[in-house]
Amino acid sequence: MALLEVSNLKTYFTTLEGTVQAVDDVSFELDKGTAMGLAGESGCGKTTAALSIMRLLPSNGYIKQGSITFDGKNIVKMNPVKLRRTRWKEMSIVFQGAMNALNPVKRVGDQIVEPILLHEKVTEATARKRTKELFELVGISPDRIDDYPHEFSGGMRQRVMIAMALACWPKLIIADEPTTALDVMIQAQIIRLLKNLQKELDLALIMISHDLSVLAETCEFLCIMYAGKIVEKGSSVHIFKHPRHPYTRGLVAAFPNIKGEKFMPEPIPGNPPNLIHPPIGCRFSDRCKYKQQICDQKEPPLFEFEPGHYVACHLVQKGVI
């Protein structure tokens, strides 16, 4: 059985203008020790999906429907006390923007010791000892645990965030845009660190990024999200070598490859739809260059194009493109 199973998840937000259908009918599963990428434009619901798994949604967001089964337990129906015990102990998250996610007035060591003490019956000395080990694991000198966040550079802070996520040896880590604000060289360091940790500790990893090339280097599986829906999912080799959905094709073409031919990145014209009143048919139809009549009338289901490779597109299903 898979470690994490998300099925038919619908997460909505109540706003003054109406209900935003941020995540609409998303399903995926994740095995132990595998890395999966969630990709898509900003506003496509990838962070919302992650926060739903952690049950960390803001007060105006709620899970309308669907189930999230983690290690045999249904997260959606879990009571707050139990949830608090699971969160961080079993699964943790590396938040977006590590630069600002640390508390500036607390020493970094204390910030890592805190969750350990909360979740496990250990003495503070043991917790500190483990913090030192964690620091070593992520490549920071252990005698820096009494420093304040401002004494670290951006890459180091990101490492601290990763150490914090690992604090209780969880089974699942969600990394939300872990390299976005970082420099290319630091980005490479962090990617290598995450990959090594994932292998060493046999972690399940969900990487969220808008940068497909970063996901190509880290993840075995990919889910491409568009306007709250998964439009294509499968192994990353499949998706990069033979992208089927027109949106995925557009995304793949939007990345220049330094090792390949010199071509201008192809933009995808138009804007994503308003999620308060999403279109009835395919949500991508307004921006799709292959659009046909059926696309506006019926929502395309996710169908298995080849074993393990799912696409939500009428035209691919019919074999038109």
Partner: protein, 471 residues
């Protein structure tokens, strides 16, 4: 005119003074500087896209700002030359000449004034002296005489100072306008004063990185785009202003302009925001654009849009770009020439294809391998450099890259490598390219070391050395 230089930057330095407290500064032997840009030279040809790449903190943005004098450079020259018939340039030359005339007039006035003042004082003192002789001893008159003589000197001094200053200003001004080899008038941007700089800034404009923060949320798109016109007092009436703004918005791809003009920045999307930023630079009809990471904050699906717009503008308006980015893959598809910066210096420069396919400097090689590739099957060893961004306040001796270089040699720690040309127009600063020099240096170094060793052996052992040994 396709291959004439539009910008020449020679040995540009931007150093920031470091302050460590009043007393520490007083006691410090040497003023310490953060050398953000340290000896950068390059030129950009008309219609070319020159790209500066490097890690954050390597000084690429500071270089861009130094060219526009948004940050005052410490030394070096920035020479800007446009095509021959250029109205703005003509205006500028006229204005410089005008200041030249006024300064000259002031100078003359000061000189004659001081002459007149001194003559008058002398005459007065003679007059007074005569009166004293006639009147005999009068304390008051004597004091007045003394005072007159006292004042005479400073007046003379002050006016001659003013005269000197005027002369100097005239010389500087004439040096601010120079003629290039091909007869075009060129501007030395660093020698212009504030009022003249506005002219230069009409020709060189900057596109900023973050369209979410660089647009004033309280201003409408119209006001944002029209602001450069207002600041530079270009438009005579409202009608002309509106026409120019509409044209700029149209050029930047915000069509129809009336649809966007009265919106606020939060009412347009991210890509459109960046287009507003670009329209704000186009409204002055510049010929050189310094684009500081214009697409790094945008969503992937619209990045290509902005790049295409910039390419279109280059063809239509004969624009030239200095493109600043940390993303080598964007530099690869977009630029004609690349300069790789490391710690305030360009370490490798050349045509884009050559730099990407045949990098010579170890830093460039490392940068290229770490760019994420959209290909999960790619199996390539990454050269991941250790450590984080280097510290510009404490630049290593010798080659500045040596502490992080995987191929470091002994020479790198002591000598600064020179520019070595690999092919026409492609050079790098690295000793790996000049094995002869390294060999020669190694031999000399061995000899030097041997000598030092001998000196140590032959030197008499002092009591201090003995103590050290004991310890």
């Amino acid at each position: 005119m396709a291959d004439t230089d539009i910008l020449r930057v020679e040995n540009l330095n931007v150093w920031f003074q470091m302050r460590e407290g009043f007393f520490k500064d007083l006691l410090a032997k040497k003023q310490r500087y953060a050398k953000a840009v340290d000896g950068v030279s390059f030129n950009i040809k008309k219609g070319e896209i020159f790209c500066l790449v490097g890690e954050s903190g390597c000084g690429k943005t500071t270089t861009g700002k130094g060219i526009l004098r948004l940050i005052e450079p410490t030394s070096g020259s920035v020479i800007f030359a446009d095509e021959k018939e250029d109205k703005v340039m003509g205006d500028l030359i006229k204005s410089v000449e005008k200041t030249y005339e006024t300064e000259e007039r002031i100078g003359k006035f000061a000189f004659f004034g001081s002459l007149f003042a001194s003559l008058a004082t002398i005459a007065m003192s003679i007059n007074l002296a005569l009166t004293i002789v006639n009147l005999g001893e009068n304390e008051l008159v004597r004091i007045l005489l003394g005072l007159a003589c006292l004042f005479e000197a400073p007046i003379l001094f002050a006016s001659s100072r003013r005269y000197n200053r005027a002369l100097k200003a005239i010389q500087e001004k004439t040096r601010a306008i120079i003629t290039l080899e091909d007869g075009r008038p060129a501007l030395d941007v660093r020698k212009l004063d504030r009022s003249e700089l506005t002219y230069a800034r009409q020709r060189i404009q900057m596109i900023f990185q973050d369209p979410y923060e660089s647009l004033n949320p309280k201003m409408t798109v119209f006001d944002i785009v029209a602001e450069p016109l207002v600041v530079n007092k270009i438009c005579k009436n409202e009608k002309e202003k509106e026409d120019r703004v509409k044209k700029a918005l149209n050029d930047a791809g915000l069509r129809p302009p009336e649809f966007f003009m009265w919106r606020y920045p939060h009412q347009v999307s991210g890509g459109q925001r960046q287009r507003v930023g670009i329209a704000g630079t186009l409204v002055l009809d510049p010929s050189l654009l310094v684009a500081d990471e214009p697409i790094s904050m945008l969503d992937v699906s619209i990045r290509g849009d902005i790049l295409k717009l910039m390419l279109d503008l280059r063809d239509k308006k004969r624009l030239t770009y200095l493109f600043i980015t940390h993303d080598l893959s964007v530099a690869y598809v977009f630029s004609d020439r690349i300069g790789v910066m490391y710690l305030g210096r360009i370490v490798e420069m050349g045509p884009t294809e050559k730099i990407i396919k045949n990098p010579k400097h170890p830093y460039t090689q490392a940068l290229i391998t770490v760019v994420p590739k959209p290909d999960p099957t790619a199996k390539e060893e990454k050269i991941i450099l250790k450590g984080e961004r280097p510290d510009p306040t404490n630049i290593p001796k010798g080659c500045r890259f040596h502490p992080r270089c995987p191929y470091v040699m002994e020479i790198c720690e002591h000598e600064q490598p020179a520019e070595t040309e690999v092919e026409a127009g492609h050079w790098a600063e690295c000793f790996l390219l000049t094995p002869e020099i390294v060999d020669k240096w190694n031999k000399e170094w061995a000899v030097k070391k041997e000598e030092e060793k001998m000196k140590k052996i032959t030197a008499p052992i002092t009591p201090k050395d003995k103590e050290k040994k004991k310890k």
